[in-house]
Symmetry: C2
């Protein structure tokens, strides 16, 4: 997939050579030096599934070899709980500790339009001029493994650019929050009073993915009821880590220290229990699998052109074969 | 995966042989005769990824050969818009036309617990004793292609049992509604006044998947505003089919005829434009791909046991290799 943005010539300032191909080594080198535009361009290439993706990843892996891995914190919650405000609050907290911070706002709801919404980015504009903060929105496009496939590469870019902390923010709906949880060291689930979130929490399985609960908008009526409801539900779950419940008013920065402390506590637990190493191994495994499946999918897609898949589908529709037998033929055709 | 329910012996009344293996041919035969328990058992086997899945599908395909395909109608919307009530309303409408109706309530929010919530089923109990209605809840478990993989098989069971109309109901969040849209002939998107759904609609990409809009709870304040907002947004989209907007009060059955009519109109459009045949081909293609990917994933999972994938992941973590090279090795190992 070479998008329109890939074919320009002569714009070597963004890492392209005169022939229109991207000089990946150069681009990664600039990202490592912390150049915002190089970081942005790399993440765009990743998001668009550019043919350079493989080379980019290899360069990033080489560049990051031996470096301390970035801490990855996921933030998720229903629309309206104050995710962007809370992300902004955490960015400020880590910036004050002198850390370089990356933010990935992943929009799982827009598989068609092909571009992440700008809303969240706009609300983060406080940090737009801070060279110690990288902010990117990503759309998790497509069907299978959209997020699982692109996000680890984007995290790698931000880590290579020197980010010590990376916040991934996503709407807590359906599969996206589970995907985020599988990518983050610590997953923060945000709730707000009076949104029926308590009940939703159990339903959406967020009890299983949350490492820290934040009840935001805690100055509103019902905040304590939400905390109580959460606490009761957590009492039913047997886990080695009992997620703390923190209350905040992110708009005013209230409770900021408590959130950071809860994240630190979880971090310590991860390190001491060996869970951090285990999570990272699982993550690497998932990434390898996601890439392998994506490349197989591309191989399948290649068959669309030569009509073989259409012919198989036609035979299933007419009842000449069943989809399992057809799938066997498909796998045989690409291997 | 052989669940606890698979190992009983002697319970031949549910289609098992004395040795504990399921007699698939017999079970499918009973489902074709409309036996509710056989239908339920087949869908459970499918949902649990039973080893008999392949045989079941082959039997169902053979049984369904030459039969008129069932009409598949998807219903989706945010929590609280009245999906189950609306589904119930449509069930009544089609039953009055003398059609046999299947309902699949798919819960995309619960990948962990492994069981769909019963709430929706309970609310449908009006129809529980009607032999012309089959109602099943399914959890779309797991990661990649959960829904895409199991739902077509469940649809096949219901069609084999003689259902002429099948309603798939799912919460309209994230990927699930897109998956539903790809499985349904007609996708009905439900909204309710005063839920900020108008804005959410554009964001969630439902404009692209909706064939019919239903504004439910139309007796509430703001219903007309929601209709206007939708109409304005639809005005911006160029599509050969302009989705009609219908208002209902599903609780009282108001607007029932209008919804059925709108679905009929879309159905006629599909048939006349050739879109129905195209959608069915795409669906068959998607199903074959989903099965192929699932079988490859199982092959990958088989490597977990022999530690090869762990070793690859470790090499990626240490920087000895990059995930693309590791993915190549993974694919080579299973093909």
């Amino acid at each position: 997939m070479t998008g329109a943005g890939m074919t320009g010539t002569g714009r070597t300032d963004t890492g392209r050579t005169d022939t229109g191909r991207t000089d990946v080594g150069k681009l990664v080198g600039r990202a490592v030096e912390g150049e915002t535009r190089a970081v942005a361009r790399l993440i765009s290439l990743i998001e668009n599934g550019a043919p350079e993706l493989r080379a980019i990843t290899a360069e990033l892996c080489a560049a990051g070899r031996g470096a301390r891995p970035a801490r990855v914190i996921g933030l998720t919650g229903s629309p309206g709980v104050g995710k962007s405000t809370s992300t902004g609050m955490l960015v400020r907290a880590y910036r004050e500790q002198g850390m370089k911070v990356g933010v990935l706002a992943v929009d799982p709801s827009s598989p068609f339009t092909g571009g992440a919404l700008l809303g969240d980015r706009v609300r983060m504009q406080d940090h737009a001029t801070d060279p110690g903060v990288f902010i990117r929105s990503m759309a998790s496009r497509g069907h299978l493994g959209g997020l699982a496939w692109a996000t680890p590469q984007a995290l790698r870019v931000l880590a290579a650019a020197g980010c010590e902390v990376i916040l991934i923010e996503t709407v807590g709906v359906g599969q996206a929050e589970v995907d985020i949880a599988s990518l983050a060291d610590t997953t923060v689930v945000l709730l707000a009073p009076g949104m029926g979130d308590g009940v939703q929490a159990a339903k959406a399985g967020i009890l299983e993915v949350a490492d820290v609960f934040v009840v935001n908008k805690a100055d509103r009526e019902g905040a304590q009821a939400t905390v109580r409801e959460l606490r009761n539900m957590l009492g039913l779950v047997e886990r080695p880590w009992r997620p703390p419940i923190v209350t905040t008013v992110a708009m005013r920065g209230e409770g900021r220290g408590d959130v950071v402390e809860a994240i630190e506590a979880h971090r310590d637990f991860l390190a001491e229990s060996g869970e951090l190493a285990r999570r990272r191994l699982v993550r690497a495994r998932d990434e390898i699998e996601a890439i392998a499946l994506t490349s197989l999918r591309s191989a399948f897609a290649g068959l669309h052109g030569d009509r073989r898949l259409d012919a198989l589908a036609g035979r299933v529709l007419s009842g000449d074969t069943d989809p399992y037998t057809a799938a066997d033929e498909l796998v045989a055709a690409v291997s």
